[in-house]
Symmetry: C2
Subunit: 336 residues, 2 copies
DNA sequence: CAAAGCTACTGAACCGTTTCACTGAACCGT
DNA sequence: ACGGTTCAGTGAAACGGTTCAGTAGCTTTG
């Protein structure tokens, strides 16, 4: 039974205290349909009784919870952690709560969690899709505003989106490596079970062909031990590429760990480029070359769009973020 | 107006379909007070109608929401981020949701958020207190189980606690530095506005005196830019200490950035020790000496205690975590 | 001056569950 | 055959708000 919720004042008690009907109190507290004077009186009585509206009752009656679901693709990634923290704070500043959930890179889990959030009656959903083509988005889109961050949802089911121009990011990184003389590059992309043909991967192949670079795409977990292991098998193999391009800085951190274990020099033996530019990346030795996105901008865009969707004041619904390359010291001329 | 929630089946429709009363359906779906056969029939009908219980209505009627509040002291800290992610996952595995909030190191904000969580009727609260002596904990403790992580709440208001033996951690770090010959150590502790006499600080002074080391305690923000700035002023000053002991690895990262900017060698010019042992710490150059806590253990302990409190199956309510020192290469003999 | 329109408010239904107090039937031992 | 338990299920009252359809009283309008 846990403990007992201390009994709190209800709207009916405030009604009794002011001699009004509960309905009038409800209106007055929201500042509508009542005279200024009544509102004053009600507010005072409420304060005296320590009355606070019961959010659950309100949610049941009005159909809105004030909560926004935040479904992250895989929270192992430090950058996604930073994004989640930022979005949580920004929503809070607008009087809403975030329910942060973590699909752990698994599309099935993503579907389950998405449905669960809908059943929890969140007012809106921000999602970093693991599988942008999943049917669940169509289903959810019918009942609440969905904003995707990162990739577009296939089929236009999103209410809005903050998409990253991943192609531009890929271009920046690959051209940078190409200019340094690299012709064979391993690309480490986050594990996303059973979701082939991710847009990002498609871009990699297209851009590689255009630029004239040979790529070898491998998936990797985003946590440090997992990424380290993946990188170890890549780098210890017989036919080591001269450069690694990681689709998130978290994966690049694993590469660093692997190079260290193998005694490889960065960028002497292999060049490493990341994606996201997490604050830690500047601090590594050598500092990590990375594709940079403005995280504050992304956070505020996502929040603005979802809040617009919830309040029915749609502003711009589609925002495209452009990356820039931050060349640091982890990339260098191709050896030999 | 957002969009319209598609109408979903209610318990009454299931009742109608099975010829039972809503009450019976409610019981049957929870597997109580009904015959095995009825339960079967109800489950089937529910599945056919696509019925899912409305969590908000359930929360209103039963008084429990299935949500656990997680109030973090300051989410800028990477280790607290990791903890939040872990607790979120562990709760989810037990069919509960976490509402993650961030006090940003501000005790007033902490109080506001704590109250707001109570008003949201979370079933329980896990808190990493900014101010363990705040009165709000007594207030909250009356209406829901509160589990503190890190420091004990003053006055025994917590339902349970997972406390770190900070004193032991401090001892490990300071003795380590003392053995290396350091006699003047700067201690960087997270900014916690207007909360003097933190237990941890008290330990620092007590242990320093016992060991025979001179300490200089300074507060610092936990984010990288903030910590860097603090460290810069410390290290650029006229009377530079020979070692810095940071009360979180995130702060130590700022120290690294500062030493780099100033051209100081670690540990040649200054030794640096951290606290938490975030996974990234092993990856820095030089790898950071840190006081290590078993984060998985902390996560699972906290979740076990809070769930025990909610379900009224109290097991062990107080868990003390012991640290160990991971000496790496950021600490070395005191110069001269 | 009657019809129409506001404004400020009321009463009751409603949101979709859970839970409490009860009931009829079956079963029990004696 | 009888009082006493269990069992399976019922009806109605919560839970604490919001909202819809009225309505009384006042002002405006033609």
């Amino acid at each position: 039974m846990a403990q007992q919720q201390r009994k709190r004042a209800t709207i009916r008690e405030v009604a009794k205290a002011t001699g009004l009907s509960p309905a009038a109190v409800s209106y007055a507290l929201r500042g509508i349909q009542t005279s200024e004077e009544t509102q004053q009186r009600v507010r005072e009585a409420a304060r005296e009784l320590g009355y606070e509206a019961h959010p659950i009752a309100r949610a049941l009656a009005s159909g809105r919870t004030g909560m926004v679901g935040l479904l992250c693709g895989s929270l192992e990634d430090l950058w996604q952690q930073a994004l989640a923290v930022g979005i949580g704070r920004a929503l809070f500043a607008r009087d809403r709560y975030a329910i942060i959930l973590d699909a752990a890179g698994d599309p099935e889990r993503e579907v389950t969690l998405a449905r669960q959030l809908r059943d929890q009656r969140v007012d809106g959903l921000i999602v970093q899709p693991v599988d942008p083509a999943a049917e669940v988005w169509a289903e959810l889109g019918e009942s609440l505003p969905v904003v995707s961050v990162g990739d577009s949802l296939r089929g236009g089911h999103a209410y809005g989106e903050v998409v990253f121009d991943n192609r531009a990011g890929v271009t920046l990184a690959l051209e940078h490596l190409h200019q340094l003389g690299h012709r064979r590059v391993a690309v480490l992309t986050p594990t996303r079970a059973s979701t082939p043909d991710r847009p990002a991967d498609v871009h990699v192949h297209a851009e590689a062909e255009r630029i004239g670079i040979q790529v070898d795409v491998v998936t990797s977990p985003q946590d440090l031990p997992g990424a380290t292991e993946t990188a170890l098998t890549m780098l210890a193999g017989p036919d080591r590429p001269s450069a690694l391009f990681c689709f998130s800085d978290s994966i690049a951190y694993g590469v660093y760990a692997a190079t260290r274990a193998l005694g490889l020099a960065v960028p002497g033996d292999v060049s490493v480029a990341g994606f996201d530019n997490h604050p830690m990346s500047a601090l590594l030795t050598p500092p990590l070359t990375s594709v940079d996105w403005d995280i504050d901008d992304i956070v505020h865009s996502a929040v603005r769009v979802i809040v617009g969707g919830i309040d029915g004041k749609p502003r711009r619904r589609r925002i495209v973020c452009e990356p820039s390359l931050l060349p640091r010291e982890s990339t260098g001329k191709c050896p030999q």
